[in-house]
């Protein structure tokens, strides 16, 4: 009996370890778990990414409450090839589909999180447009020439894995190679997904979370509750000491530096054959929802109004502020599809006007 028990434990855990070390296995499992709606389905992001970090029960709500279908445009003159580098605010169902973009016959979409650079390919018979999209909390670090080149330039600016100055660069690479071979880089997260990202565990997670939140006043470090208790925010977007925050004090000189940063990107890519570069900075939800009763740093409008700014910036802040709470999920760091549709409409107006 003991031997049978030991066999069962061994095979189960070995299976868990092997599965957790397999990209393909995890991909398949994620797909299946996120489809299921019962206790065997994944619960972490089903109700919003910030709910998944906190498990605060009042914020457990279906994400599709404000579902709006974004109408696909009919192909018209199709004169653009749109190269997009963007983040998770751009829903995958439209970010790779040219029918959603005015005058666009071809789209190439690269995520900021791409593990490998995906070089842009210029079209010979269409106007080449580069759309650089990023959420406000990340744009300072990401919307730089080097970061963009490292993701889409056929000749990247630098390799992020290089270790300049280290005498042991080769050893470090070998070391990393061995480690990656025997330990999946995200093994701990994968194991957590495998074993605990299941709806059946939700009551335990919610109870622990309630204990921490209502008794100890603690949430996940990355998440804050809005002052009106109706919205979850990423800490980095509301903490005035974090550079990505909408309340981070930003001087005019810094705004000027960001403008120069964006101008540099535009100049570079135009010199490489792009006809137009469009920037779009998505405002942090807290900057739109106005729940904190204090002024934001207005970084987006200050960039747009800066005397040195000559480029195109799609800033959906004003449009999103109308009926703002309908444009965001209370338990997610992203907008909902209504918010995305507003942005897409504004982008299409810009594309139309080019």
């Amino acid at each position: 009996m003991r031997r049978i028990f030991a066999f069962v434990v061994l095979f189960f855990l070995a299976f868990v370890l092997i599965f957790g070390s397999s990209n393909e296995g995890m991909r398949l499992l994620s797909q299946r778990r996120y489809i299921r709606q019962d206790g065997w389905g994944a619960d972490k992001f089903t109700f919003g990414d910030l709910y998944g970090l906190t498990y605060i029960k009042p914020f457990k709500m279906p994400r599709d409450t404000s579902f709006v279908t974004i109408p696909a445009h009919q192909p018209d003159s199709l004169t653009y090839k749109l190269n997009i580098i963007g983040d998770s605010y751009l829903y995958s169902f439209f970010s790779m589909n040219p029918r959603y973009f005015r005058k666009t016959g071809e789209v190439q979409f690269v995520r900021w999180s791409t593990p490998k650079p995906i070089p842009y390919r210029l079209s010979k018979d269409k106007k080449n447009i580069l759309l650089v999209e990023c959420v406000e909390r990340n744009f300072r670090n990401l919307m730089t020439l080097q970061e963009i080149r490292n993701r889409i330039d056929p000749q990247p600016a630098s390799k992020s894995e290089a270790h300049p100055g280290s005498q042991f660069a080769l050893l470090a690479r070998i070391n990393k190679g061995i480690k990656t071979a025997i330990y999946h880089p995200t093994l701990e997260n994968n194991l957590e997904f495998l074993l605990f990202n299941l709806g059946i565990w939700a009551p335990f997670k919610e109870l622990k979370s309630a204990l921490n939140f209502y008794i100890f006043g603690r949430l996940d470090n990355d998440v804050r509750v809005s002052k009106n208790w109706k919205q979850l925010y990423l800490t980095q977007t509301v903490d005035p000491e974090k550079v990505g925050s909408s309340f981070y004090p930003t001087s005019d000189e810094e705004v000027g530096a960001y403008v120069a940063q964006l101008n540099e990107v535009e100049t570079y890519f135009k010199s490489k054959g792009f006809d137009q570069v469009i920037f779009s900075i998505i405002p942090n939800p807290v900057g739109v929802l106005n729940t904190e009763n204090k002024p934001t740093n207005q970084i987006l409008s200050r960039i747009a109004k800066h005397p040195n700014w000559k480029g195109i910036l799609v800033d959906p802040s004003l449009r999103l502020q109308k009926n703002a709470k309908e444009n965001f999920f209370p338990s997610d760091s992203h907008w909902n599809q209504r918010g995305a549709a507003i942005w897409l409409g504004q982008l299409n107006e810009t594309l139309n006007a080019l």
């Binding site: 031997r3 030991a6 868990v16 370890l17 070391n175 061995i178 701990e188 194991l191």
Partner: protein, 469 residues
């Protein structure tokens, strides 16, 4: 792979179940491979360094057994130099380099030494000392040289105690690898319980206390005296729960498979003197220094000044063992000075000697004094930079103890911290009896402890403090 991770949970389950399914003669191989895998989770390349010291000490052991007289001494010396050399290169090079540079700069002498930008191999001080204890014991004739290279490698690399001890002796551990181990329900339960208690200490107590400690020590300049005192006391218990928690998991994991590792802690804050504290704190290290260095230096069987010098040498080296930084040296030296002060005071005022106290008031007075001294010394252990240590004392000198505690932790959680500390302290008074009771009600206590650990645990994957040594 830290003990408070899912990776370890899965790893431990696989290794242990495979261990009991496997024939005894292959078990050492399984444990050796598992230990290699465990160590490679940190920095795989450092397995090479570990292998180097293993090879040197393995052959040194055999040669020591085959030779006598001066040759034998030379072999031991070479083996120790090799081990200490690895420590010197990987742990102390930068420290030595910085101090030589600083001194040369004072004398206006230009010094050029290459900078080594290397990571310290995890647990280096632990397994180096364990390897040295082997050659010393073979030299002394207390241990036969191990001929099976795999078994010797396993002695150095046995995964439960590979990165943070307990620092084992060959007489206690090596023979256990040869003994067949059978499934013993009570032993397995006792081991699992100790593991869960260790995790509880780490994630429920240590990591919770660290929220206050890190906040206060992260900005010393703006803290009141109350905050500094609370953080200092919390740190005393944080480091205890962190390190003893690790030891509990290590000892428990080994016990599940049938191995007996030495206990590393014995209610240290119940000590009524500094010497007693060191008989209860990190026992495997303090006995290592006593057995292999203090006694070799003559111990207390020498002139009084020399005896005092021996004590100071041991404590300063013990400080340096912890880290290549002056704050650790000062921490060790402080403990040495406390001990010497006690010895001198005992000589001058024998009626005040800690050993002579009879009443409970006297006992508690000495206990509190000991805790106060240990806690003061921990300040040097916790704060690496002199400027911050100076700031700590300057803030304390303001005597601002009337301000209420001002930290971001809410009062309910703060009281929970106090409750946990007091509870731990109280339970340790009768730890033998408590352990026995817990084991008796295993099927009730074990799941309850797991649930309590889950609900009250602070799961931030924070590394154990002693991993850095």
């Amino acid at each position: 792979m830290v003990f408070n991770s899912l990776q370890f949970l899965v790893f431990f389950g696989i290794v242990t179940s495979a261990y009991f399914l496997m024939a005894h003669k292959y078990r050492w191989l399984l444990l050796l491979l598992a230990s290699c895998y465990f160590y490679m989770a940190f920095v795989p390349m450092y397995l090479g360094i570990l292998a180097l010291t293993i090879v040197i000490d393995y052959f040194a052991g055999i040669l020591l057994e085959q030779h006598e007289g001066p040759t034998k001494k030379w072999i031991l010396a070479l083996s120790i130099v090799a081990n200490v050399g690895v420590l010197a290169v990987f742990k102390y090079y930068q420290f030595i380099f910085n101090n030589i540079s600083w001194f040369a700069h004072l004398l206006d002498i230009p010094v050029q030494m290459p900078v080594l930008s290397i990571l310290l191999p995890i647990g280096l001080s632990f397994h180096t000392f364990q390897a040295m204890s082997y050659t010393i014991e073979v030299y002394r004739g207390n241990q036969k040289a191990e001929r099976n290279f795999g078994i010797y490698s396993l002695y150095v690399m046995f995964y439960p105690q590979l990165v943070a001890g307990p620092i084992e002796r060959p007489q206690n551990l090596i023979h256990q690898f040869y003994e067949p181990k059978h499934w013993d329900r009570h032993r397995v339960q006792s081991g699992l319980l100790q593991m869960v208690i260790g995790i509880f200490k780490k994630v429920v107590i240590a990591d919770r206390l660290s929220m206050v400690v890190d906040e206060v020590y992260g900005n010393i300049g703006e803290q009141s005296g109350t905050n500094l005192v609370v953080a200092a006391i919390f740190y005393s218990f944080q480091i205890y729960c962190d390190f003893s928690g690790y030891s509990d998991v290590a000892i428990g994991a080994a016990r599940v498979m049938g191995f007996r590792l030495m206990e590393n802690f014995n209610a240290p804050y119940w000590a009524t003197s500094i010497p007693e504290f060191w008989r209860r704190w990190h026992i495997s290290l303090s006995t290592w220094f006593k057995d292999y260095l203090y006694i070799t230096l003559g111990g207390n069987r020498v002139s009084v000044p020399r005896w005092y010098l021996n004590i100071m040498i041991i404590f300063v080296l013990s400080g340096l063992w912890h880290g290549a930084s002056w704050n650790f040296v000062i921490w060790g030296a402080l403990h040495g000075l406390f001990q010497l002060s006690g010895l001198i005071l005992n000589r001058l005022f024998p009626f005040l000697a800690a050993d002579q106290r009879k009443t409970w008031v006297g006992v508690w007075a000495y206990r509190l004094l000991t805790f106060f001294l240990v806690t003061m010394a921990w300040v040097f252990f916790r704060i690496a930079h002199f400027s911050s240590i100076k700031l700590w004392f300057s803030r304390m000198a303001l005597m601002d103890f009337s301000s209420p505690l001002h930290v971001s932790m809410v009062s309910k959680e703060f009281y929970l911290c106090v409750f946990l500390i007091v509870g731990l302290f109280a339970l340790e008074y009768k730890r033998g009896m408590v352990k026995e009771r817990l084991e008796t009600f295993f099927w009730l206590i074990f799941p309850v402890l797991i649930l309590v650990t889950y609900f009250l645990g602070v799961f931030n994957m924070k590394q154990f403090i002693y991993f850095q040594f």
